[in-house]
C-alpha cells in the first residue's frame, strides 16, 4: 500500500521534464553542430594563430618582421610546387614530378649561365621551357598512352632526377667546375639572376615571397572564379560527365600538367638564384613537402578538396611550426616527424569531422 503511493515525482510529471530535456538537448545538439561546422571551416586557421601566439610568448623574436618574412621565404618554393600539385589534384591527377622538375630546372638555369654564358633572361626562359616540356611529356603519357597519373609522373620523377646529373657528370655546377669532357667552366651567375632569389622589395619583402603572392592570387582567381577552373574541378569529379558536357578533357588535363610543370620550374629558378649554383641535391625533400602542403590544404576553410589558398596556408603552417620549434631549440631531426604528425592530423580532421558534419546536416 505504502509503496504504491510513494511514486517518485519524476515518474508522475513524466511528460514535461522529458519534453523539456529533449528540446534542451536538441538545442544543444544544434549548437554543437554549429560549432562543429564552424570548427571545420576555421580549425586550421585557429591552430595556426594559436601556434603563432605560443611561439611569440615563448620567444619574442619570433614576431620580428625579418623572421616572419624569412619563414615565408623558406616556404615560398614548397608552396609554389604545392600550387602545381593542387592544380593537378583538382583535375583528378597527381603530379609527383614537381620536385624533380624544380631540381632539373635549377640545374638547367645554372648550365645556361655557367657553361653557355647566357644572361638571366635566357636562363629563366630555358627553365620555363623545361617545365612546360615536362608537363607536356606527363600529359602525353597520361592522355595518349593512358598511363595512370601517379605512375606516369613517378616515371618522370626518376627520369628527370637522373637526367639532371648527366651533363655535369653528377657534380654540382659552379664557376670552376670540371665538366665530364675535362673543360673547366668559366661562366658566372649574373647579379640580375641572383636578385630573383635575394632581392628584397623595399628592403623587407623577399622577391620569392612576392612571386608566391602573385601566383597564389592568379591561381586562386583562375581556379575559383573562371570557367577554366570549373572545368578542371569537373574533370577531377567526373571525367565522363565533363566530356559528355562538351569539355575537351584531354586538353585540360595536359594543361593542368603543363601549368604544374611551369610553376615547378619557376620554383627551380628561385632555388638557383637563392643558392647561386647548380646543386645536385637541391629539391630532394620538396616533393613530399609540397604534397603535404596540398593535402593539409584540404582541411583549410572546410574545403575538403584540393584548393590553392589552402595549399599555401598549409605550406605556411609547416614553415611556422618548423621555425618556431627551431627557435625553441627543438632538434632538427624532429622536423620530418612533426610534418608527418601535422599531415596525418589534418587528413584525419578533414575526413572525419567533415563527414560527421555532413551526416548531421
Amino acid at each position: 500500500m505504502k509503496t504504491s503511493t510513494s511514486i517518485p515525482p519524476e515518474v508522475v510529471s513524466e511528460t514535461h521534464p522529458v519534453e523539456h530535456e529533449r528540446s534542451v538537448r536538441r538545442g544543444r545538439l544544434r549548437g554543437l553542430h554549429g560549432l562543429r561546422a564552424h570548427l571545420e571551416r576555421t580549425g586550421m586557421l585557429l591552430v595556426l594563430a594559436l601556434l603563432v601566439i605560443v611561439f611569440a610568448v615563448n620567444q619574442p623574436a619570433f614576431l620580428n618582421i625579418d623572421n616572419l618574412f624569412s619563414i615565408l621565404q623558406a616556404v615560398s618554393i614548397v608552396a609554389l610546387l604545392g600550387i602545381g600539385v593542387t592544380v593537378t589534384l583538382a583535375a583528378g591527377g597527381f603530379d609527383l614530378s614537381v620536385g624533380s622538375v624544380a631540381a632539373s630546372a635549377q640545374m638547367a638555369a645554372s648550365y645556361v649561365l655557367i657553361v653557355w654564358h647566357g644572361n638571366a633572361f635566357e636562363a629563366v626562359v630555358a627553365c620555363l621551357a623545361l617545365g612546360i616540356a615536362a608537363g607536356l611529356f606527363n600529359g602525353f603519357l597520361i592522355t595518349r598512352l593512358r598511363v595512370p597519373d601517379q605512375l606516369a609522373t613517378l616515371g618522370t620523377l626518376f627520369l628527370l632526377a637522373g637526367l639532371q646529373l648527366i651533363p655535369t657528370g653528377g657534380r654540382s655546377l659552379a664557376t670552376g667546375t670540371i665538366l665530364p669532357d675535362g673543360t673547366e667552366t668559366t661562366g658566372t651567375f649574373p647579379d640580375a639572376f641572383l636578385a630573383l632569389g635575394r632581392l628584397r622589395l623595399f628592403d623587407v619583402v623577399p622577391l620569392p615571397v612576392v612571386v608566391l603572392a602573385v601566383l597564389t592570387v592568379v591561381a586562386c582567381i583562375v581556379m575559383e572564379t573562371t570557367r577554366w577552373g570549373r572545368v578542371i574541378y569537373a574533370i577531377g569529379g567526373n571525367e565522363t560527365a565533363a566530356r559528355l558536357a562538351g569539355a575537351p578533357t584531354a586538353r585540360y588535363r595536359i594543361a593542368a600538367y603543363v601549368a604544374s610543370g611551369a610553376i615547378a620550374s619557376l620554383g627551380g629558378v628561385l632555388i638557383a638564384a637563392r643558392v647561386g649554383r647548380g646543386d645536385v641535391s637541391a629539391g630532394h625533400s620538396m616533393l613530399l613537402d609540397a604534397v603535404a602542403a596540398a593535402l593539409v590544404g584540404y582541411a583549410v576553410w572546410g574545403a575538403k578538396r584540393p584548393n590553392v589558398f589552402g595549399t599555401v596556408v598549409g605550406a605556411v603552417f609547416v614553415g611556422v611550426l618548423l621555425n618556431g620549434l627551431t627557435m625553441l631549440n627543438a632538434p632538427y631531426y624532429m622536423q620530418d616527424f612533426i610534418k608527418g604528425v601535422l599531415l596525418v592530423g589534418a587528413l584525419a580532421f578533414t575526413f572525419s569531422v567533415g563527414r560527421a558534419a555532413d551526416r548531421h546536416a
Binding site: 570557367r227 574541378y233 567526373n238 560527365a241 559528355l244 558536357a245 562538351g246
Partner: protein, 503 residues
C-alpha cells in the same frame, strides 16, 4: 493458409525529424511473391534495409519463421534467413576473380572458413550453386567475361547459397533485356514452388504483372494498400502517387496536335540517318525524325541504343553511313561540336554520365545546369553568378524541381528531382535535336508523369529521340516507337509497333 514466414508488426524508423516508416505492418507467406511499390522517398528502401539488417527499427517487432528477428548486421540477417540481391551488381562482385570464387565469396570472406581451399574443391562447391540458377558456364573464367545478366545470376546464386526463407530482390530487371528478365522470372517461379518467400521491389509494372501475387504500396512511410492478384495496376499507381494519372484523352489531343504541327511545319525530316552501320557487323538502317516529333528507340539494354545515341552526339563513331541535320551533313567530331550545333544528349545513369560528385564545388543545381554552356555564356572566362542563378530559377520553375533554391546540392535531391535537373540542363538553351538515353531511370511514377508532360510541352521546338528499354515508357512519351536491337532498327516489327503508338 500456412503461417507467415515473415511478420512485420508496427515497425517505425525515424531519421532526425523525418519519419521514414510509420508503424508498418506486413506479412509474407512461404511461396508468395509480394511486390513493394512506392514513389522515391516513400520508405521502400528503408523497409528493405531494416529487413536486410542494415538499420535497426526504432519501434515495432519482426518475426521470421515464428522467431523474433533482430539482425545486428546484414551478415547476421543472411545467416538468419533473409538474403538480399541489390540493384547495383558492381558493388556485389569482384570482376577479376573467377566465377566460382565469386559464388563462394561470402564463404571465402568468412573468418571461420579454412585458410586454404583447393581450386578443384571450390569448383565442386560452386557448381551446385550455379546449377540452381541455371548458370551454365565455365566456372574458372573471370567474372568480367560474363554478361551483366549472368553476373546478376551469380549474385542471386550467392544469395541463395544460405537457403534463405525470404529473398529480397531490389529492381532485379533494371539492366536486363526482355528474354533475360523472362529467364529470371522463370527462376522466381521455381523458387516460389520450393517455398521461398520473395519480396520484389520494382518500378517496372511489366515485372510486377508477370510475377507478383500481391502488391503492397508504401506512401509517406505507411502501407496504404495491399492488393491481391489480379492487380489493377492503374489503381495501384494512382494509390502510389496519391493522384490520378494524366488522362488519356488529354494525351491524345496533345499527340494529334503534335502530329498536325509536324505535318505542316516540316515535310522533310529534321534529322535523318541513311545506311547507318553502327558496327562493321551490324545491318545498316535508315531513320527520319521530324521537327516537333518524339520518337522512341525501344530495345533491350546492350542492344546498341546507347551506341547509336553516342554516334549522333559525336561521342562515338559509326562504322559507315551518313547522318543529316536540317539538310546538312552531320559529322560531329566531339560532344563539344554537337553541343555547339544544338544537338544535346542526356546520358543514361545520371551519376555516371551527367552529374558531378559532391566534392566538386559547383555540384549544385545552378552549377550542373550551366556546365555545358560555360564557354557560350562566359566568353572571357570569368563566371557571373547572376546569369547561372537566372537559368537555374527558370529551370526549377519549368520542370517543377522540388528544392530550396538554385544552390541546393545535387546529392540532397531525390532521384526524380536529380533526373529533372539533368533534363532541365538540356533545355536551358534551345536544342535542334535532343537525345534522351533512359530518361526515366530510377524515377518514380509521379516524377515520370511530370517529366513526360514537360518534354511533350517543349517538343515543338526540336526533334526528340528517346532511347528506352521499357516499352511502356516508350509508349508513354513518344509519338512513334521503333524497335531497336543488335545495333539496328527492327524492320519487321517497325510498322507493327508504330500502329500501336498513340493511334
Amino acid at each position: 493458409m500456412t503461417a507467415p514466414i515473415l511478420t512485420v508488426a508496427a515497425v517505425s524508423k525515424r531519421f532526425g525529424p523525418t519519419v521514414a516508416l510509420d508503424r508498418v505492418d506486413l506479412s509474407i507467406r512461404a511461396g508468395e511473391v509480394v511486390a513493394l511499390m512506392g514513389a522515391n522517398g516513400a520508405g521502400k528502401s528503408t523497409l528493405v534495409k531494416i529487413l536486410s539488417g542494415v538499420y535497426g527499427p526504432d519501434g515495432g517487432e519482426l518475426w521470421l519463421r515464428g522467431q523474433p528477428f533482430r539482425p545486428a548486421s546484414p551478415h547476421d540477417a543472411k545467416q538468419l534467413g533473409i538474403a538480399t540481391v541489390h540493384q547495383s551488381i558492381a558493388d556485389a562482385v569482384v570482376p577479376t576473380l573467377s566465377i566460382a570464387d565469386n559464388l563462394l565469396l561470402d564463404r571465402l570472406c568468412d573468418p571461420t572458413s579454412p585458410w586454404r581451399v583447393p581450386p578443384a574443391v571450390r569448383r565442386q562447391t560452386a557448381a551446385p550453386l550455379a546449377a540452381r540458377v541455371g548458370l551454365d558456364v565455365d566456372l574458372t573464367a573471370p567474372l568480367a567475361s560474363l554478361s551483366l545478366a549472368s553476373q546478376q545470376l551469380v549474385t542471386l546464386a550467392r544469395a541463395l547459397a544460405t537457403r534463405p526463407a525470404l529473398l529480397i530482390l531490389d529492381e532485379p530487371t533494371a539492366s536486363l533485356s526482355a528474354p533475360e528478365a523472362e529467364r529470371l522470372f522463370g527462376l522466381i517461379d521455381r523458387l516460389r514452388a520450393e517455398g521461398v518467400a520473395i519480396l520484389l521491389v520494382s518500378h517496372r509494372l511489366g515485372d510486377l504483372r508477370r510475377v507478383a501475387g500481391r502488391v503492397t504500396i508504401v506512401r509517406d512511410g505507411r502501407i496504404v494498400a495491399d492488393l491481391p492478384a489480379p492487380i489493377d495496376f492503374d489503381a495501384a499507381v494512382e494509390t502510389m502517387i496519391g493522384r490520378p494519372l494524366r488522362s488519356n484523352a488529354a494525351a491524345d489531343t496533345n499527340a494529334n496536335a503534335t502530329a498536325a504541327a509536324a505535318a505542316t511545319a516540316a515535310s522533310s525530316a529534321c534529322f535523318s540517318v541513311r545506311d547507318l552501320q553502327l558496327t562493321s557487323a551490324s545491318v545498316p538502317f535508315d531513320l527520319d525524325v521530324q521537327r516537333g516529333e518524339i520518337v522512341a528507340i525501344a530495345g533491350p539494354v546492350g542492344g546498341g541504343k546507347s551506341r547509336f545515341a553516342r554516334a549522333i552526339f559525336g561521342a562515338g563513331r559509326a562504322a559507315s553511313g551518313t547522318m543529316t541535320l536540317d539538310g546538312k551533313a552531320w559529322r560531329p567530331r566531339s560532344p563539344a561540336d554537337a553541343i555547339r550545333a544544338g544537338v544535346f544528349l542526356a546520358g543514361e545513369d545520371r551519376w555516371r554520365t551527367s552529374l558531378f560528385p559532391d566534392s566538386v564545388p559547383f555540384a549544385s543545381i545552378a552549377g550542373t545546369l550551366s556546365f555545358p554552356f560555360l564557354s557560350r555564356w562566359f566568353k572571357y572566362g570569368g563566371l557571373k553568378r547572376a546569369r547561372e542563378q537566372r537559368a537555374a530559377l527558370e529551370a526549377i520553375e519549368r520542370f517543377g524541381i522540388r528544392c530550396t533554391g538554385p544552390d541546393d546540392r545535387l546529392n540532397r535531391l531525390s532521384g526524380g528531382n536529380q533526373q529533372k535537373v539533368v533534363l532541365a540542363r538540356w533545355h536551358t538553351q534551345p536544342a535542334r535535336l535532343l537525345l534522351l538515353d533512359e530518361p526515366f531511370q530510377g524515377v518514380d511514377a509521379g516524377a515520370r508523369a511530370d517529366i513526360v508532360d514537360t518534354l511533350r510541352r517543349h517538343a515543338q521546338e526540336r526533334a526528340t529521340l528517346v532511347f528506352v528499354s521499357d516499352l511502356e515508357e516508350a509508349f508513354e512519351i513518344a509519338d512513334r516507337v521503333v524497335r531497336f536491337d543488335r545495333a539496328t532498327l527492327d524492320r519487321v516489327s517497325q510498322s507493327d509497333f508504330t500502329s500501336h503508338a498513340r493511334s
